[in-house]
Amino acid sequence: MPMTDQGGTPPSGTPPGASPDAVRFEGVGLTYPTARGPVRALTDITLGVPRGHFVSIVGPSGCGKSSLLMLTAGLRSCTEGRVLIGATPVSGPQADNGIVFQNDTLLDWRSALDNVLLQVELRRLPKARYRQRAADLLHSVGLAGFEHSHPYELSGGMRQRIAICRALIHDPHLLLMDEPFGALDALTRDQMMCDLQALWLEQRKTVLFVTHSIPEAIFLSDRVVVMTSRPGQIDKIVDIDLPRPRELEMTTEPEFNSYVTVIRKVFERRGVLRSERETEPGKTLT
């Protein structure tokens, strides 16, 4: 399987001179002050996210993977290096992205349709022109007939679908997803994974997807970035060379599992994961 250890983007198929990357991290570091002194959240992150690719960042809690998304969105500033969107360094909120969080962050007083249109209103875009598109998006994620339902009448999966529509309504090139399925039950997660893939195959947006789940990352991605913590850094980059559309049955096949093993090994080597026999008595688990 093709694999690179640090950064880099295969330049195949891109014209010379033009950057193939929708997003580039160049030596990004992030240190923030706390009461106990400065904490280094990210160090030496160099990574390219090619245009139209689905890239996942997988790592343990506190490895700074969500911070990477916040830096990309321009909601936080890095203390070292820089983040580029296309050729422009990020310095503040970006116009051309959509964000989905772990919590659906829907407004209880708005209907599904109006929650999707919130993005349009906040961006001061002409609402009338986006109404039909909002309805179409809800339709495409299986929420036809629920346009006028309120969030409290809907299940967690349905709510998160609305949040995804809201992130796509203004047709951004870049979709940032921060553990979007983390709060859902296992069955709903599987369904959402399949539906997100279908949506991505249709729209081919650049996606930066943060997750805890190794199978989820492999299933969805062209490339999985494996991060480890203290401070957050890239340990390995794994290109996923599986045919699309991918189906749930594939997750039990040997090829899929060999990817799982590769990523799991990184965490075992770093002490994030430990198998029973390696745990010595008296040694504390991290």
Binding site: M70, A73, G74, L75, G92, P93, Q94, A95, N97, I99, F101, Q102, N103, T105, L107, D108, W109, L118, Q119, E121, L122, R123, R124, H150, Y152, E153, S155
Partner: protein
């Protein structure tokens, strides 16, 4: 949203929610009457419910006309408290230096018994309407500020991240997200505030006034006319309840989406 059709259980629960307190009230009144009979308590100490009732009906027009200035003071004081309270809450939430400078002082100011200023306010603003409105305002406004600012501050950080990612202005975020998000808390503050405004107005009338229900209480007390005193208290209770219910109805109308306002959750 259409009102969902009530099931038989829901209808029974609704009836019970009125029937139980009503029964308890009737029992309490009966006990009151009984205690007076058994212990032979003098009317100037504690009037019987029957005597209170006859004061209430016999002096109905007097009580009604004295209610007018009190209601005016309460409504004006409450209105000013609402406008000023919510404005200050908005400033606290949107402007950091203001929060740092004003919020601690505001909290500390609650250790000052505002009622103690009532005599001074009378000196400054006279015995008329203004001094009572100010006292009602002073007491009512604090719960409104505290609840409104707490509500606007409790917007989840991810929600704000999302809003900031759209490059929306602070005012837009306030109007579309923070304010509607805080409405349940704002109404909690308003419900406390309206009750407090009644207290403020009556205290103002105690300290110096020629009319109003507070004045009725003082004069009835002076004449040991305890049945009129109780009648005036009952009018005040009714006034407070009506105002509270009015705010509650407004709350129901404005935030049907909130968890506290939902009868039936369909899933």
């Amino acid at each position: 949203m259409t009102e969902p059709k009530l099931t038989r259980t829901a209808r029974r629960q609704r009836i019970e929610s009125f029937a139980y307190p009503a029964a308890a009230l009737v029992l309490a009144i009966a006990a009151w009457e009984l205690i007076i009979l058994i212990f032979n308590i003098q009317a100037y100490l504690l009037p019987s419910p029957a005597a209170v009732y006859s004061s209430l009906t016999g002096q109905a027009s007097y009580l009604a006309s004295e209610s007018v200035p009190t209601i005016e003071e309460v409504l004006l004081g409450f209105a000013v408290a609402t406008v000023v309270g919510i404005s200050i809450a908005v400033a606290i939430v949107t402007w950091r230096p203001f929060e740092k400078a004003v919020y601690p002082l505001l909290v500390a100011s609650q250790e000052v018994p505002q009622i103690a200023f009532a005599p001074l306010l009378l000196v400054w603003f006279g015995f008329g309407l203004t001094s009572k409105v100010i006292i009602a305002f002073l007491i009512a406004f604090f719960p409104i500020v505290v609840n409104a600012s707490a509500g606007m501050r409790s917007v989840p950080s991810e929600m704000l991240d999302l809003a900031h990612s759209t490059q929306a202005s602070g005012f837009t975020i306030l109007r579309k997200i923070r304010f509607p998000f805080a409405l349940p808390n704002i109404f909690t503050g308003l419900k406390i505030g309206v009750t407090f405004a009644v207290i403020g107005a009556v205290v103002g009338e105690f300290v110096g006034s020629g009319n109003g229900l507070g004045y009725v209480l003082m004069t009835a007390n002076g004449r040991l006319d305890t049945s009129l005193l109780f009648a005036a208290i009952i009018v005040l209770v009714i006034m407070g309840l009506v105002l509270f219910l009015a705010v509650s109805m407004l709350e129901r109308a404005l935030i049907p989406w909130h968890v506290s306002q939902r009868n039936v959750v369909t899933r």
